[in-house]
């Protein structure tokens, strides 16, 4: 594997992308789990599909259009739930098939329909390029800065939103920032995990950390360990057994979760 890593740039980029996305997911996942936003993550992932399809048709920047469609989706959800027009989950349930159907319709008009669809749905880590790496690093910086600036605000927001709002925490700003970095993380992870398997990155590390930690700092550390170990193990297994990395990483993460939480000690 090391020889191939030295020889092939695409493999180095794939490994680097996997490491960075795992790092990013470790910060995002606990919030997704504690705020019960699993469905939003799924919705944003599906929304990304519309942007990716537009980029594919225009032969344009996939990251730009992916971000655009996921952010538009996230803003819709945020706006409608804040205005109490519809519940958050209803809004996601309504918009998810709309964005997905839009993407499928657009892609159906391209020649590489089946190949593209499969890559977007289940991921293709070998498609990662340098721009993707820069993008992930950018999202990591954004997420880490938000964490550093608003660490306490985020903890109070998750712990008791009503009281946090009353005593002066800017809960609308915090929820918007969270929505943004969840959206950006989903776009960053989509080439590795694909839309369908996104949960392995944005849900599983948080679920593991929640089951095994008793402080928010501990949660982030354990989420980081889980995310890194399961991704790198999955990546290595995929390499040696010639398997698609996205599904292999997802199954590895699930196996690690089951094994570790069976012997958990808080």
């Amino acid at each position: 594997m090391i020889r191939d890593l030295v020889t092939y740039e695409f493999l180095r980029l794939a490994l680097l992308g996997t490491i960075f996305v795992s790092f990013l997911a470790a910060f995002v996942s606990p919030i997704v789990v504690y705020r019960k936003m699993e469905f939003i993550g799924d919705g944003v992932a599906h929304a990304t599909f519309a942007g990716l399809a537009i980029a594919s048709i225009l032969s344009s920047n996939a990251v730009f259009f992916g971000v655009l469609s996921s952010v538009v989706f996230a803003l819709f959800v945020w706006y409608f739930s804040k205005k109490n027009r519809f519940s958050e989950s209803s809004t996601i349930g309504v918009l998810l098939p709309v964005f997905m159907a839009f993407g499928v319709l657009l892609l159906s008009k391209t020649r590489s329909y089946t190949v593209d669809l499969s890559s977007y749905l289940f991921g293709n880590v070998l498609l990662i390029n340098k721009n993707d790496i820069f993008f992930v690093v950018g999202v990591i910086l954004f997420t880490v800065i938000v964490y550093l600036l608003f660490w306490r605000d985020i903890t109070y927001y998750i712990s008791d939103e009503k009281a946090a709002q009353f005593y002066g925490i800017k809960v609308n700003l915090i929820s918007l920032l969270i929505m943004f970095f969840v959206s950006l993380s989903v776009v960053a992870a989509v080439k590795i995990s694909g839309i369908i398997l996104m949960g392995s990155y944005i849900v599983l590390p948080g679920v593991f950390a929640k089951a095994t930690s008793r402080s928010f700092k501990g949660i982030i550390v354990k989420s980081l360990l889980f995310s890194m170990i399961s991704s790198l193990t999955g990546f290595t297994i995929a390499y040696y057994f010639d398997l698609p990395p996205g599904p292999t990483i997802a199954l590895t993460a699930f196996a690690v979760l089951i094994v570790t939480t069976s012997f958990k000690r808080k």
Binding site: T155, D160, A163, F166, Y167, R214
Partner: protein, 243 residues
């Protein structure tokens, strides 16, 4: 001295009135219990007073600093936050950090509410009564002279309630607090509060506790979904609701 003045307050959600033409005044040192059936507008009234609902008709004036205790079920008990951090929220918001002095102040407050040995425990491990006292400590750390409590006794056992109200009286005496409490438990309101407000969209009665009889209330509200304090009224209520 006036603490809260509400004049012709109406709140509408779509076509539906949550509150209609409500007017009252609350004086300094009052301990007001707001009672009414589900959907009577009790929590809406508190939300208007704290400024969470701004879309209303009428006039609301507050003279003082409010400390607010939302319903205990708004607390995410799965999230690992220690009790000291939990109660320190108003102190953090002031300076966006915790100084040593503030930490000591929070610890003193925990001692006052009888939770000094729980400072490092997780909020999720507290009993209903302990969480209620921790939330009270949090409200008091905001230097409030008006306390708004939204159903502070739901999910708390009788012993916990009794401890809570003893504490509340002590703090009331010590800081000349004005307390406004929403409750489902009529018996408790009659026992603890000096003034009662009966709300069901409009204000049906407002006056000193001794001038309002429970029988009159029952008559007024008809199919009331809470039970006059008596033998095991809580168990009856829960059984009825779980049907």
């Amino acid at each position: 001295m006036m603490k809260i003045r509400v004049e012709n307050l109406s709140v509408k959600f779509g076509e539906y009135y949550a509150l209609k033409d409500v007017s009252f005044e609350i004086k300094a040192g009052d301990f007001v219990g707001i009672i009414g059936p589900n959907g009577a507008g009790k929590t809406t009234l508190l939300k208007v007073i704290i400024g969470e609902i701004r879309d209303y008709n009428g006039k609301v004036e507050v003279y003082g600093k409010i400390g607010y205790q939302p319903q205990l079920n708004t607390v995410n008990r799965e999230f690992p936050m220690d009790v000291l951090t939990y109660i320190s929220l108003p102190l953090y918001v002031k300076n966006r950090r915790f100084s040593k002095i503030e930490k000591e102040r929070a610890l003193k407050m925990l001692k006052k509410v009888g939770l000094e040995d729980k400072a490092n425990d997780l909020v999720g491990n507290l009993s209903g009564g302990e969480l209620q006292r921790a939330s009270l400590a949090r409200a008091l750390l905001s230097d409030a002279d008006i306390l708004l409590l939204d159903e502070p006794d739901s999910g708390v056992d009788e012993m916990g309630k009794s401890t809570f109200y003893e504490l509340l009286y002590d703090f009331k005496k010590e800081g000349n607090l004005t307390i406004v409490m929403v409750s489902h438990d009529i018996g408790l309101v009659f026992k603890e509060c000096s003034t009662i407000m009966c709300l069901n969209k409009t204000l049906h009665c407002h006056g000193p506790t001794e001038k309002i009889s429970p029988d009159k209330l029952k008559e007024m509200f008809g199919q009331f979904d809470v039970w006059i304090r008596g033998d095991k009224h809580y168990e009856i209520e829960h059984r009825e609701r779980s049907k």
